[in-house]
């Protein structure tokens, strides 16, 4: 019994133990699960932290990059600012250099002198004043002077061509005219590179005495940038409107406007050295002088190649316009030290203006001509190039070399059928070039030869016959055993004539015409 009881007790005890063990096991499992969950959560938290850290690192990296970029930009900006400051300093320096002290009119060397008083106007009446300053202007006035004279004769206006010392600035040059014009009731100032056509109306009748006549350049070409810059240089609080910006090459004035020249003489326009046109515009902006806007045909500046046509104008102004788009950007001038070395200079329209002026004057006399300047030609390598003479005329220069291909060629013109004379001229556009220069004349990219290769001969003129309208006509010059220079090429359409050549020898038969 006891055994049974004991066994029962043991059974009960083992049952309890078993129960307890089960409970403990379940509890342990719960604990383990909890631990696993905790571990899992910890891992998750760790991963999240890791991700956040990575994200932070990435953003930090980006920030660093942005900082570096900003740094670089700042450095760049600083550099460009520095450059700009340097440029401004240089410009200011240059402007100060240009803005030389204004000469006193009592200074004999700086005062303008009347070179020629071509036509004498009655006292106290109207004069046309043409200031001539520098080598280029001296060449040009010789071409345009007959047209000034004809105009003055036609309108009864006096003409005075004034020598202006080369050393003074254009502003001072204009101011130096003050003593010359002060006796005039009315006066117009024109530049020597302007051509007045026959029959041009009287400028003093077009512009009333109380107004200053000029063309408003800002109407025809974009002068916004220039006006902004000028306003900055003069410290205007309100920028000069582009619509007010006038061209100073032709000014029709009266005694009322002498104050303008006085102000120019005093040089109180700006602390910067301004060119004449800017100075005048700055002065007029804040003055009470009333400007009469002349029609554009009284000062026609060809702003585009297709506008190079004097038929649109009474007064044609070459100004700084090109005859046609230049093929060359630079020219070479001899070093002033007398050595054989050359300095490169930017080629300017003024250097090539003379042939164009001659062309216009010839055409106005009824001649069908075309003058080709140095900037319209093309050059082979460095053996040929544009040179500037001592008096600033651009010429086609070719050095001595073996005569292989053409050294100078162009200008690819379209020429109508007929007889043409082709002349190589010196820098003055009149004298003949070296007769030994070897040339040929071709068209259509050299496919058709009109004149075979050979020395141009005496008078530096050859005659060609185009049996049909030719495109891309070229005059090609070859190098020879000595260097040569050509100022311009003159193409002249000859009137059609088929006169037979004169008999070379022997008595000519009596003919109907010879009987006359």
């Amino acid at each position: 019994m006891r055994k049974v009881l004991h066994r029962l007790q043991r059974l009960l005890a083992s049952g309890a133990m078993l129960e307890a063990g089960k409970r403990a096991k379940a509890e342990r499992n719960v604990a383990l699960a909890e631990r696993d969950r905790a571990v899992e959560e910890r891992d998750k938290a760790r991963a999240a932290a890791e991700a956040m850290r990575a994200e932070r690192d990435a953003s930090l990296e980006e920030r660093d990059k942005a900082r570096a970029a900003a740094e670089a930009m700042r450095a760049e900006r600083d550099a460009s600012l520095e450059e700009r400051d340097l440029a401004v300093r240089e410009r200011d320096h240059a402007l100060r250099q240009i803005a030389m002290p204004h000469p006193k009119m009592t200074d004999e060397a700086a005062a303008a002198r009347v070179r020629v008083r071509v036509l004498q106007a009655a006292s106290g009446s109207r004069n046309l004043i043409v200031p001539v300053q520098g080598a280029i202007a001296n060449r040009e006035i010789e071409i345009t002077r007959p047209f000034f004279e004809a105009y003055c004769r036609h309108t009864g206006v006096g003409l005075e061509i004034i020598d202006v010392p080369e050393a003074i600035t254009p502003v001072s040059a204009m101011a130096s005219l003050r003593p010359i014009v002060e006796s005039c009731e009315r006066f117009a100032i024109m530049q020597p590179y302007m051509i007045i056509r026959d029959g041009c109306p009287d400028l003093f009748a077009v512009v009333t005495e109380d107004k200053l006549g000029a063309i408003i350049e800002g109407r025809w070409t974009d002068r916004r940038q220039r006006c902004l810059e000028l306003s900055g240089l003069c410290g205007f609080s309100t920028p000069l409107p582009m619509e007010n910006y006038l061209n100073s090459d032709l000014l029709v004035m009266s005694r009322r406007h002498l104050s303008l020249l006085d102000t120019l003489e005093r040089g109180h326009v700006s602390s910067y050295g301004l060119d004449l046109q800017d100075a005048l515009n700055a002065l007029l902006y804040h003055s009470d002088i009333c400007v009469y806007s002349l029609p554009r045909d009284f000062n026609w500046i060809p702003y585009a190649p297709e506008e190079f046509d004097w038929r649109w104008a009474w007064i044609f102004n070459m100004s700084s316009s090109w005859r046609s788009p230049p093929t060359q950007a630079f020219a070479w001038r001899p070093k002033p030290d007398g050595s054989d070395a050359y300095l490169r200079a930017r080629l300017q329209a003024q250097h090539c203006r003379l042939p164009s002026l001659i062309e216009i004057t010839e055409q106005l006399r009824g001649n069908n001509v075309r003058f080709v300047n140095a900037a319209e030609m093309s050059y082979e390598g460095l053996s040929a190039r544009v040179h500037l003479t001592s008096d600033e005329a651009a010429v086609m220069w070719c050095g001595a070399a073996a005569p292989e291909g053409p050294a100078i060629f162009g200008p690819y013109l379209d020429l109508p059928a007929g007889r043409w004379s082709v002349s190589l001229l010196g820098p003055d556009g009149v004298t003949a070039a070296d007769p030994r220069i070897v040339v040929d004349v071709v068209h259509d990219s050299g496919r058709n030869t009109v004149r075979p290769r050979g020395p141009i001969g005496p008078g530096a003129t050859i005659e060609i016959v185009l049996d049909r309208d030719a495109t891309n006509a070229e005059v090609r010059m070859y190098p020879g055993d000595r260097a040569y220079a050509v100022g311009c090429i003159r193409l002249n359409a000859c009137s059609e004539s088929h006169a037979p050549e004169q008999a070379s020898s022997g008595p000519r038969p009596r003919t109907a015409a010879a009987a006359v």
């Binding site: 056509r197 026959d198 029959g199 109306p201 009287d202 009748a205 077009v206 109407r219 025809w220 009469y292 806007s293 002349l294 029609p295 554009r296 045909d297 297709e306 046509d309 038929r311 649109w312 104008a313 009474w314 055409q363 106005l364 006399r365 009824g366 069908n368 059928a417 007929g418 049996d467 049909r468 309208d469 009137s495 059609e496 004539s497 088929h498 006169a499 037979p500 008999a503 038969p509 009596r510 003919t511 109907a512 015409a513 010879a514 009987a515 006359v516």
Partner: protein, 455 residues
């Protein structure tokens, strides 16, 4: 020898004809051009040689003067009659050789119609020129030919419906061919011919040539059913299909002297040649303008036009011929005006102005309506004012103040009711199809033209 001169230098031709080589040459020289220098030169030349000189000074037509020359020559009893262009010249001995050939052929073939020469074509290879025959020897046709009595007897004279030039010789050859009249030629190269030089070197003639030639061509096709052919012994056959003029069997190839002025009557003759004797083609506004300018404005010094176009070329050509000092052409279309002007020679007297009163123009000034008022700004008076552009009534009103006292206004396209008021402003001089020609009338205008200061 019958020669018609228009604008070419006459010396090369006359110099190439020797007077002492066994031929007595009598010239019949007709002047059709108006160039004063040429007239003087011809007077000098013709007064020194055996010549009958006809200085008409109008472009009366080649056929008309050829007919007159043929008649005069045959009446004078000349042994041979040659028609020679003024743009040829003979090589040395060329004239004598050709004259001898003509005389020998006259004896050999007395009934011959024409004897043509061969010559070298020079001048230009353009359409108005020698074309494909440039620098090549070619049959000269009517440019240098002898006309035989056989031709006059069988087909008569040249058809004056061809005006002012071209096609009259082709028509003559075709008629000779249809009537089987012998046509001969001298194949030696005896001369040089600067073909069509007259048209090529005269801007105004060249400008009018296209329409004049088209009308001739139109008439030729009407007359023969196709374009001209007989281009000489080496030429291709023609496209003519009619064997009678106008395909009318009742009309023959003969044009007798009595019918030269109206060879085929009102049924077939051209109706646009009423003023051809005066040098003007009918039914053509440019020709009409030229006619009116020539009639009323001879010697005009300054001309003005509002509205550029075909008129501008005519006025420029007229001004050049007159030696005028100013032609001012105003238009409101920049591109159009530029196109018109680029087609013109660079006449020193020509001024073109683009002015648009409504927008900024290339000439824009302080004036309000610059298009109309611009000429008044210049203080210049004009002998001729042509109004053919915009703002016509305004232009006409201003034109009264711009005109010289004896100046004219030509108002184009006038047949509109709104322009009737013009007759109140001006004194009417002439009404043509296209233009109204008017002068200032002080009584109507209320002021004396040319006396009032310009506005």
């Amino acid at each position: 020898m019958v020669v018609i001169s228009y604008n070419a230098d006459p010396e090369p031709l006359f110099r190439s004809i020797p007077l002492v080589e066994g031929h007595d040459v009598r010239f019949y020289v007709f002047l059709h051009g108006q160039d004063g220098a040429l007239r003087t030169r011809l007077e000098t030349i013709t007064s020194a040689i055996d010549c009958r000189y006809f200085p008409y000074g109008t472009n009366r037509g080649v056929a008309r003067s050829w007919n007159e020359g043929l008649l005069a020559s045959f009446n004078d009893g000349n042994e041979a009659t040659l028609l020679v262009n003024d743009d040829i010249y003979f090589y040395e001995g060329g004239f004598s050789a050709f004259a001898n050939f003509v005389l020998s052929e006259t004896r050999r073939v007395p009934e011959f119609g024409v004897v043509s020469a061969f010559g070298l074509e020079t001048g230009a290879a353009n359409a108005i020129g020698a074309g494909k025959f440039y620098q090549r020897p070619h049959w000269q046709g009517g440019a240098c030919m002898a006309v035989g009595r056989g031709a006059i007897e069988r087909i008569g004279y040249f058809d004056q419906n061809f005006w002012p030039a071209y096609f009259e010789d082709a028509d003559y050859f075709h008629r000779l061919e249809l009537q089987h009249v012998p046509m001969l030629w001298d194949e030696r190269i005896l001369l040089e011919h600067n073909r069509s030089r007259t048209v090529r070197t005269d801007f105004l003639l060249g400008r009018l040539h296209r329409e004049r030639n088209r009308r001739n061509e139109q008439y030729y096709i009407r007359k023969w059913g196709g374009l001209r052919g007989w281009g000489g012994p080496d030429g291709p056959p023609g496209q003519e299909i009619f064997t009678y003029p106008f395909n009318d069997p009742s009309v023959g190839c003969m044009i007798p002297l009595t019918a030269v002025e109206a060879p085929y009557g009102p049924k077939y003759d051209r109706r646009d040649l009423a003023r051809s004797a005066a040098g003007v083609l009918g039914n053509s506004p440019p020709e009409e303008l030229l006619w009116l300018l020539s009639k009323h404005a001879g010697g005009a010094r300054r001309l003005l036009e509002w509205g550029a176009g075909e008129n501008t070329a005519i006025m420029a050509g007229f001004a050049y011929a007159q030696g005028s000092e100013l032609l001012l052409s105003i238009d409101h279309r920049a591109v159009h005006l530029r196109t018109v002007i680029e087609q013109l020679p660079r006449y020193p007297f020509l001024h073109a102005r683009f002015i648009d009163a409504e927008e900024l123009s290339e000439t824009g000034s302080d004036l309000d309506s610059a298009y109309v008022a611009y000429p008044a700004l210049l203080g210049i008076r004009f002998d001729v004012v042509v109004i053919a552009g915009r703002w016509r009534m305004e232009c006409a009103v201003l034109a009264r103040k711009l005109l010289e006292p004896d100046g004219f206004v030509l108002f184009q396209d006038w047949k509109h009711r709104r322009y009737e008021v013009l007759r109140e402003l001006f004194r009417l001089v002439e009404e043509s199809d296209e233009f109204l020609v008017m002068r200032c009338d002080p009584a109507k205008a209320g002021f004396l033209p040319g006396k009032e200061a310009p506005p």
